[in-house]
Amino acid sequence: MSGATFKPSDTVDFLVIGAGAAGGVMAKELSTAGFSVVVLEQGPYLTQKDYRHDEIRYTYQPGLTNDTKIQPITHRRNESETAKPIKAIGYGRQVGGGSVHFTANYWRFHESDFEERSQFGEVPGTGLADWPIKYADLEPYYTKAEYDLGISGLGGANPFEGPRSKPYPLPPMPVKSSGVLFDRAAKKLGLHPYPAPMAILSQPYQDRAACVHCGFCEYFGCEVRAKSSTLVSVIPVAEKTGRCEIRPNSYVRKIETDAHGRATGAVYFDANRREVFQRAKAVALCANGAETARLLLLSKSKSFPQGLANSSGLVGKYLMWDNGGLAMGMFEHPLNEYKSIQVTRVVHDYYKADPKRGFYGGAGLDARFNYYPADFALQGMPPDAPKWGAEYKRMLSTYFTHTMTVLAHTSSLPQLRNSISLDPDLKDAWGLPAMRVTFDFHSDDLATIRWALTKQVEILEAAGAKKTWTLGISKVEDSMPSVHLMGTCRMGNDPKQSVVDRYNRAHDVPNLLIVDGSSFVTAARQQPTATIQALAYRAADYAIQAAKKA
């Protein structure tokens, strides 16, 4: 919290909206290239001193995520239903965004992820399409992200990954019992397990400490700065330039444009709910795959009656999320999965869509600790176990330490009908239309979840589990809140079929960049953070070159 201070009347070079996984990267890249930057973040500016080992604050309450008490969200499965309030979407809401509380899995997309339409063919009822860029276009930026942020892993260990220009900057994290069991079982089945690439420091890096294995990663902010969030990696670098101001508690309600259709800045509510207009020469919108679309729709004007950057009508459309069920296994000896990071081993053998399966889909599987103590007691026990009483208590006393999870990340098809829009009735605490989510699974999404569960259980059984059980997803509400938000401003070469171009520039607004999960054309089958950040490094690189020429 030691950056520059600008006045709203100062016309800064770049206004970045959202200080998360993408916004933090943009802020650092643009400010270190010599540009003045203001970053508007709707959430507070917290640091490691504010974080706690406190399940009540961060899983029961939205300590680090959006709070539907002040920002309600509605959901409907399709247009014929009336949307009802439910926390359908979850995202990080503080400086650092979701990169603060994420599990820190850091998988690259495969080469095939960028050309699935060509490789797999058409999937009826969907907008499955190739990306306008290929893996090779993004590879230098994956590498840049891994080195800039601090990623631990073993380069080349995943035989299904595309070519890498460099190994990871840090060796993999120590393997946990779940990883040992998963590794052994997967090899027995002829699969290719590999050490999980994680945005967590296995050794000291830059000025930060290595992980001390306290176990509080997913849902929590790291108290020793070992998790490589933008909050502790790139944002301090941006502030140190003296050209970047991070402005927390600043909730943007509209991006303004001039008579020529160029963005001129944004109007936001400050901490006292006063409206402020911050001027800028260019805007980078990095508010996440759901809020970015909502803000564009809120930014409609005479020149942009359908919402900003929405001549295609595709802003908010093709919403995708990261699907997948859980398989649990109970073992003879203690695993103590609550110690150390969540994930240490991964399998990508089932990743690529194979037409022989009879449906479109694929899965990335990981071995993990999935439930902190109270959540385990409430959700993690076998479905046939009692839910209260002496036997329940007895089971809890062994199951918590003896259980591991195999989680699948499965594909989510881009469907036009799945969208972010503005709720016609409900308002948030600032009086703005609430976010409305229209979402239901494609039948292939569900088929993939069910198929993957059989593979997950197969691994647990091969590992010698005494008992296995699954927590599947049978209806869309089971998968909420969705936290990997993709696809609502898809990337493409044709302005009629996409919202941003191959460099994340809005087709309709020359000085507006849209950089977060929203530009994803397809969702792959994984956590999107690595790809969001690689796209941000690439978008910043091209924006810097363009701005220097101008």
């Binding site: 009540i56 946990k176 000896h333 695993l335 999965e337 109270a374």
Partner: protein, 184 residues
């Protein structure tokens, strides 16, 4: 040779980062300290005793401390006084419905707390699919297994029950299967 914790920490993180860890450990200790039971702020003591009787069947004190010893009722009172104040009405109507069910099942009884253990179990079986029971169960488990600074999990009885330790640092091996000579 036994490596001291501080030496081990300094080896793996570097001296400069020790301050981060020391600060985090300090606030972890403060947050995890159990406080003496506060007076009830929201719940009427008579109602609290009835809720305590139910939650003490969700996690009974068989084979060691349960919900009662963990101070779940103080956690619930704290929750209803602060972050779950909007659930007071659910408790009011929920408990009224449970009392009605008790009178149906055991017309001569005066309270839930004075029922026999078998009768309490029978009563809970009659309400276990209700939303209110799910709320009670949720509060009981967060109170039992959440951070003790909220008034529950007194003396870490919940964490001891399930085998969880809240520490700022662990080192491998973490479990049986990743230990050399364990199963590797």
């Amino acid at each position: 040779m036994q490596t001291t914790r501080r030496l081990w920490l300094s080896q793996c993180v570097g001296i400069a980062a020790l301050a981060d860890i020391a600060a985090a450990q300090q606030h972890a200790h403060e947050a995890a300290r159990s406080s003496t039971p506060p007076p009830l702020q929201t719940l009427d003591p008579a109602v609290a005793a009835e809720i305590d009787a139910i939650t003490s069947q969700i996690v009974p004190s068989t084979d060691g401390p349960g919900a009662h010893e963990a101070g779940i009722i103080f956690f619930i009172d704290r929750a209803l006084s602060t972050f779950d104040a909007d659930k007071r009405e659910a408790y009011r109507t929920g408990m009224a419905a449970v009392q009605k069910k008790r009178q149906e099942l055991f017309p001569k009884s005066a309270s839930i707390a004075t029922l026999t253990s078998e009768q309490q179990i029978e009563l809970i079986k009659a309400i276990e699919t209700t939303d209110f029971f799910e709320l009670l169960r949720t509060h009981t488990m967060y109170g039992l297994l959440g951070n003790p600074s909220y008034g529950g999990n007194r003396d870490h009885v919940g964490w001891k029950l399930i085998g969880f330790e809240d520490r700022m640092a662990f080192q491998p091996p973490f479990g049986y299967y990743d230990a050399p000579g364990g199963d590797r």
